[in-house]
């Protein structure tokens, strides 16, 4: 009677059973809501030009300060511009910034983090020192300085936020790489005579990617908030081009007249950030469970 593998899951260890009971294996409702929101926002942002919306900067599409109605789904602002259009085009800005920042962060920061965590030694020392300096530099001052130097535009904002996301990702990826590179399967790979490059990219990296992605999702939320702060301070794209941040900034002066002008973009910002955070958390939970299922 050979000892064949019949069922995947073995007799559950008692202590593990307790832990397993606390963590859901399947995606919860909140995850689907978050995913749905992000999908909707992404869709409208991408296809903004094709949607039957009035141009976001065209004044007097309807009477100013209109409340949401069938005709103007999100109402109009102080100049009679369609809030819905402005929010949709603002979403485009936020998402562009968010995604670009994350991509820059993952590619550059992730690469250096991997290399630092795997090769250690002097290379690690140099990379970590640079990352620490970047982290220590106050973000807002860096952003303000660059914008002052290069002028406010979407490209500059993307550059700024992208650069700012490199260091945290380097740190995270380095830490995760250290953990995995210390495991015995890496030693076994060295024993097989695999080249360092192969080990780094085919053995270690696949293990690092899940936590990098979940961190990146949360980072995306931060990037969007940062853009909001920058445009609130007038350091991002200038009005009349809408971005959630500058919409909030401009509308604060009309707070007493029509609070909706502030609340609307704020809500969109809030839900988007929340959705990204939930997504990052759930992503991590799913991958964590799989790995520690032993």
């Amino acid at each position: 009677m050979a000892d064949l593998v019949v069922e995947p899951i073995l007799a559950a260890d008692e202590v593990r059973a307790e832990a397993a009971g606390a963590r859901p294996r399947r995606f919860k409702l909140t995850f689907w809501l978050a995913a749905g929101w992000m999908a909707a926002i992404t869709f409208v942002a991408v296809f903004a030009n094709l949607l039957p919306l009035p141009p976001p900067n065209k004044p007097l599409v309807g009477p100013p300060y209109s409340l949401p109605s069938w005709q103007y789904p999100l109402g109009t602002d102080e100049l009679g511009r369609s809030m819905l259009s402005r929010v949709v085009f603002g979403a485009r800005v936020s998402l562009e910034v968010g995604v670009a920042a994350i991509v820059i962060g993952l590619l550059v920061g992730g690469f250096f983090g991997l290399v630092a965590g795997y090769y250690r030694g002097k290379l690690d020392a140099v990379i970590s020192a640079v990352a620490n300096v970047m982290l220590a530099f106050p973000a807002l001052i860096f952003a303000a300085a660059l914008v002052a130097f290069l002028g406010p535009s979407l490209e500059v904002v993307i550059l700024v936020i992208g650069v700012l996301s490199i260091a945290p990702l380097t740190r995270l990826v380095r830490a995760t790489t250290l953990t995995h590179a210390g495991r015995e399967f890496v030693l076994a790979a060295r024993m097989m005579g695999y080249s360092s490059r192969r080990i780094l990219f085919r053995e270690v990296m696949p293990n690092v990617i899940p936590s990098a992605i979940s961190f990146a999702l949360v980072g995306m939320a931060l990037a969007i908030v940062l853009e909001g702060a920058l445009s609130f301070l007038g350091l991002s794209i200038r009005p009349p081009q809408p971005s959630w941040g500058n919409m909030i900034a401009e509308a604060t002066q009309y707070l007493t007249q029509d609070a909706w002008l502030v609340i609307c973009p704020s809500l969109f910002l809030f839900f988007t950030v929340l959705a990204l955070n939930l997504g990052g958390d759930t992503f991590r939970a799913v991958f964590d469970v799989k790995e520690s299922a032993l």
């Binding site: 000892d3 073995l10 260890d13 008692e14 009971g21």
Partner: protein
């Protein structure tokens, strides 16, 4: 050392009767895969001053059993059933607050890994005196003196200095001595030792087990030694209970268990142990397969799928616990050493025919 007690000792039974009675204890966990019954109807009685060994592999339920008896399990997601009576007082309906009076003072536990059972951020002195001050209402100085005496009694050199040290500054063996000192600080009547030496080297293991035995004698304490290692319990217990898949499958006084065992599992476990006193390359008889899934255990005897004595009856019907002699119970349809058992073995031997193809199951002597 007769410590003052803060808790009123209102125990109905204090002499003559058993120290601990466990009746039909069941513990189940709610897991995503279903209801996992880790302890399935365990009953046992413990007389004061004796040592019980609980032996089993991972998944047998031995750790959950000791924690269930002490009622140390998390409340969320856990269902418990059955009764636990300690010194005549039923523990099952007690609140956490009432249980806290008992934990440490009446019943204590030491765990496998001293690094994780000691608080790494707290000095050792404080960890020991904490318990003394809570249960015995000692002043800080009294507690400190008591702590030094305790550390000395468990064989720790320069105890005064140790009070100011952190766990990571001590070796594994010394750390385990400290956890023993903490557990024994308030003079509990019952000590659960849950795999106390598994993480330690063999020479340290011997020291720790000797220490536990000495403390037990000195304090007339009752001890439950939970381990996967049959060798450890062989010389140091009065009675042994063998657990498999959440149940006690055999229980007997130690000498009786080793000489007149009835469960094929016990026999197989013993036969699969490599022995330092047997020649090199002695073939090891192996138990094929793996322990069952406790969410969906097999019908009939839970060990049957792996048992070399198993017959059709075993796969269909669950054998009840029967008494072989006073104090010796087992649950098997074709026990070891009986005509029924021998017949079952021969029948299986004939059916198996050729030697097993699996290289892990047997090997020939060189």
């Amino acid at each position: 050392m007769s410590p003052r007690r803060r808790v009123a000792t209102d125990y109905p039974v204090d002499d003559g009767g058993p120290l601990l009675e466990v009746e039909d204890l069941t513990t189940a966990f709610r897991t995503p895969r279903g209801r996992l019954v880790a302890v399935d109807g365990v009953s046992l009685t413990l007389q004061p001053g004796t040592t019980l060994g609980v032996v089993g592999e991972s998944g047998s339920g031995k750790t959950v059993l000791s924690r269930s008896i002490m009622r140390l399990l998390p409340q969320k997601g856990t269902e418990t059933g059955g009764r636990v009576v300690f010194r005549g007082r039923e523990l099952t309906p007690l609140s956490r607050k009432e249980l806290r009076q008992i934990w440490g003072a009446e019943m204590a536990m030491i765990f496998q890994d001293p690094m994780t059972s000691l608080n790494p951020t707290m000095k050792l002195g404080r960890q020991i005196t904490e318990s003394l001050r809570y249960h015995l209402d000692m002043s800080r100085n009294e507690a400190r003196e008591h702590a030094v005496a305790l550390l000395r009694s468990v064989g720790i050199p320069t105890p005064e200095r140790r009070l100011g040290e952190y766990p990571h500054q001590l070796s594994g063996g010394l750390r385990q001595r400290v956890t023993i000192a903490i557990a024994l600080a308030c003079g509990p009547r019952l000590l659960f030792a849950d795999e106390p030496t598994t993480a330690l080297d063999v020479t340290v293991q011997a020291q720790i087990l000797d220490l536990l035995a000495a403390q037990q004698r000195e304090r007339s304490m009752t001890m439950v030694l939970v381990t996967h290692d049959l060798s450890v319990v062989a010389g140091r217990t009065d009675e042994i209970a063998v657990m498999y898949a959440g149940r006690i499958v055999e229980r007997a006084p130690t000498k009786v268990l080793f000489s007149k065992m009835k469960m094929p599992y016990t026999e197989a476990l013993l036969a699969s142990l490599p022995r330092a006193d047997r020649p090199s390359h002695t073939p090891l008889k192996v138990i094929p397969g793996r322990p069952p899934d406790l969410v969906d255990p097999p019908k009939g005897c839970r060990f049957a799928p792996r048992c070399s004595y198993a017959q059709d009856k075993c796969l269909a019907e669950d054998p009840p616990l029967r008494e072989a002699s006073p104090g010796h119970v087992y649950a098997c349809w074709f026990p070891v050493g009986t005509p029924a058992g021998r017949g079952a073995l021969t029948a299986n031997g004939r059916a198996a025919g050729a030697a097993p193809a699996d290289p892990t199951l047997a090997r020939s002597s060189p």
